[in-house]
């Protein structure tokens, strides 16, 4: 108990440090939070659709391969078909030439630009970051991303929005280079869900949280098993300790 207290005292100073961005965003009750949290597969699939139809025109997702989509509930044929809808530059071939071919499940998500400079040039000098780790790379994680996506509002009178920037309620400093990506009915969901801005933001956030932490469900499952095992071990070793130490107490009396 003492040690737990002490541990919490030790960790206390770092809670603020791990907390979110300066601008307070929206907190959503995500299904993947908590020790038993799981991803919602239908939301992941919708999120993939939002990423593919909207985000992927500027943002890469380089650490995810098409084969990883089996986590979202797709089968092999679906993944093959999805992968082959993209064009991958491969090579060099036997003649030393680069060539194009349809994507395969083992390929990583095709990036929208050939390199970082091309990405910058196409976006007015602002680099659209890779999204594979975005929820881990921003304080506030999933809530940060969700807030940002629904944070495009009419700027208040007091704020002057310069050329090439856009007002966002939840972005630190309120001016962001990325134009508003999501509009009502911006995608037509395959499962018929109403594509409101909030719905699309939530789905793509769920998808990108998975992209950042695809191991999460396995991690939490393993954690429950490991901690249960250790607690049983603690109880048994405490009983053994009492047993072994009983003669030390006796000597004292």
């Amino acid at each position: 108990m003492k040690r737990l207290l002490l541990l919490s005292v030790f960790l206390l100073p770092f809670t603020t440090f791990a907390a979110g961005p300066e601008v307070k965003g929206v907190s959503k009750d995500w299904g993947f939070l908590g020790p038993f949290g799981k991803y919602d597969k239908s939301s992941l699939q919708r999120g993939l659709q939002v990423y593919t139809e909207v985000c992927s025109s500027c943002h890469s997702l380089k650490y995810i391969a098409y084969r990883n989509l089996s986590d979202l509930g797709y089968n092999k044929n679906e993944i093959k078909a999805f992968a082959s809808s993209f064009t991958v530059v491969d090579g060099p071939d036997d003649d030393g030439e680069m060539f194009e071919r349809p994507g395969r499940p083992a390929d990583f998500f095709v990036a929208p630009y050939a390199n970082d400079n091309a990405a910058r040039a196409a976006n007015g000098g602002a680099y659209p970051p890779d999204l594979s780790l975005i929820t881990k790379a921003r304080g506030g994680g999933a809530n940060y991303l969700y807030s940002l996506l629904i944070g495009y509002k009419e700027p208040p009178e007091s704020i002057e929005v310069r050329e090439g920037l856009h007002y966002n309620k939840y972005y630190s400093g309120n001016l962001i280079a990325m134009p508003q990506p999501l509009y009502e009915d911006g995608v037509e969901y395959a499962d018929g869900t109403n594509a409101s801005i909030e719905q699309m933001a939530a789905d793509v956030t769920e998808f990108l949280t998975w992209a950042a932490e695809p191991e999460m469900e396995a991690r939490k499952r393993t954690g429950i098993a490991a901690i249960s095992f250790l607690l049983i071990m603690a109880v048994l070793s405490y009983i053994a300790k009492l047993q072994i130490w009983s003669d030390v107490k006796k000597k004292k009396a």
């Binding site: 003492k2 040690r3 737990l4 002490l6 541990l7 005292v9 030790f10 960790l11 206390l12 100073p13 770092f14 603020t16 440090f17 791990a18 020790p35 650490y63 990883n68 970051p129 594979s132 780790l133 881990k136 790379a137 921003r138 304080g139 994680g141 950042a212 695809p214 191991e215 991690r219 939490k220 393993t222 954690g223 429950i224 490991a226 901690i227 250790l230 607690l231 071990m233 603690a234 070793s237 405490y238 053994a240 300790k241 072994i244 130490w245 030390v248 107490k249 000597k251 004292k252 009396a253």
Partner: protein
């Protein structure tokens, strides 16, 4: 066998044969076995030494596994870490254990040191034991810093830049020394390569110093919560099985808490910026050290002058080396030192405050608080500690561990119970 050959005490013939020629089993038995007499009144604060040892082993094993999959090159380091997280079997587990293990190693060692400070374990005749401990602590800080560079995230890069820059304050030769350490003019591929090599080396140096730490410990045995010398054998119990089982229980609880972080809060103690690949052209808004280095970062920033700041920071650690001679009180345990006890609590709170301040922006009230806490850190060691021996009247010490009440007759009370009485 000729009777002139001294025989090992072990009954098992194979062990006996080996031990007679290579007394490794005798050495083990004297280290953590039945031949290591230990005071019988050690409380749970004495668990943290063995916990630190176990944590080092965990770090070395996971570290070697990570090294098999890591690429020390500025173009590939970040990607190789992500590959470990996503494609290496169990890679996420190994990396999260290693990453959080660093923090928990420091938590355990900080508690171990706090215990030593409270019960006066650094005092004669255990001065060298304490000094070797401070050497281990210094090596740990170096190892942790080097390791934090390896994922090549934004905080890795800029942390390395800030910390190596400390050496530029050395008069005349500062800049050449920094260039020599970095292997160039900025933190770059040569820096990453040498940091990786040193990060792999230092844990084994730590293991070596731990060996010396244990040899020094066994010279006079463990201190105990009463801080008095053990005079009779009846106050001693063998390390095994009494403390092996107690340490095993402590280890189970420790690992359970550790697992909460590894499996459920793996990035809680880290900084999100380190999931952004290093970019020499973009400085993060705030460069902050890992929490365990934060108190010293606060001391560094408290001093307006760069050279003096660096000196204060190294001095804050250096002062620990002469602690056994700053504290002149012959009484070890704070139980019997009413004034030291109060200052001890203030010191711990001050330390936590420094840790908090080290990760805040140095502006407004934080500057004043940072300077006050830094001043108090040095006042505690340089003024309070030497002064206490003069102005403090320690309480009467018990005669032995078995008789913590001062009468010579048997009290029948456990040390814990008698402590509550006072």
């Amino acid at each position: 066998m000729k009777s002139s050959i001294p025989n090992s005490q072990f009954k098992n013939p194979v062990i006996n044969w080996i031990d007679t020629r290579l007394p490794i089993f005798t050495a083990m038995n004297e280290a953590v076995g039945t031949d290591h007499p230990t005071p019988k009144n050690l409380n749970y604060w004495w668990n943290f030494g063995s916990l630190a040892g176990v944590t080092l082993v965990i770090m070395i094993i996971t570290g070697i596994a990570l090294a098999m999959n890591y690429t020390a090159h500025v173009d590939h380091a970040f990607d190789s870490v992500e590959r470990i997280m996503r494609d290496v079997n169990g890679g996420w587990l190994i990396r999260y254990i290693h990453m959080n293990g660093a923090s928990f190693f420091f938590i355990v060692v900080y508690i171990h040191m706090a215990r030593s400070l409270y019960y006066g374990s650094y005092k004669a005749p255990r001065e060298l034991l304490w000094i070797l401990g401070v050497v281990i602590y210094l090596l740990m800080m170096a190892t942790a810093f080097l390791g934090y560079t390896l994922p090549w995230g934004q905080m890795s890069f800029w942390g390395a830049t800030v910390i190596t820059n400390f050496f530029s304050v050395i008069p005349f030769v500062g800049e050449p020394i920094v260039n020599w350490l970095l292997g160039g003019y900025t933190v770059d591929n040569p820096t990453l390569n040498r940091f990786y090599a040193l990060h792999y080396l230092l844990p084994f140096v730590i293991a070596g110093v731990i060996l010396l730490h244990i040899v020094a410990l066994h010279r006079f045995g463990s201190n105990n919560p009463l801080g008095i010398d053990i005079k009779s054998d009846k106050d001693m119990i063998p390390f095994h099985p009494y403390y092996t089982i107690k340490d095993f229980f402590g280890l189970s609880v420790f690992l359970a808490i550790f697992c909460v972080f590894v499996f459920f809060l793996p990035n809680f103690l880290g900084h999100p910026d380190n999931y952004v690949p290093a970019d020499p052209l973009s400085t993060p808004a705030h460069i902050v050290p890992e929490w365990y280095l934060s108190p010293f970062y606060a001391i560094l920033r408290a001093v307006p002058d760069k050279l003096l700041g660096v000196l204060a920071m190294f001095g804050a650690i250096g002062i620990l080396f002469i602690l056994p001679w700053l504290d002149r009180s012959p009484v070890r345990s704070a139980h019997y030192r009413p004034m030291y006890r109060v200052f001890y609590v203030i010191f711990i709170v001050n330390m936590l405050a420094l840790g908090y301040l080290g990760v805040q922006n140095p502006e407004g009230i934080y500057i004043i608080l940072g300077r006050t806490c830094t001043a108090w850190y040095f006042i505690h060691f340089l003024v309070i500690m030497p002064l206490l021996n003069i102005i403090e009247t320690p309480k009467a010490l018990p005669k032995s561990v078995s008789d913590p009440i001062f009468s010579s007759g048997s009290s029948g009370l456990s040390p814990a119970a008698s402590r509550k009485l006072k």
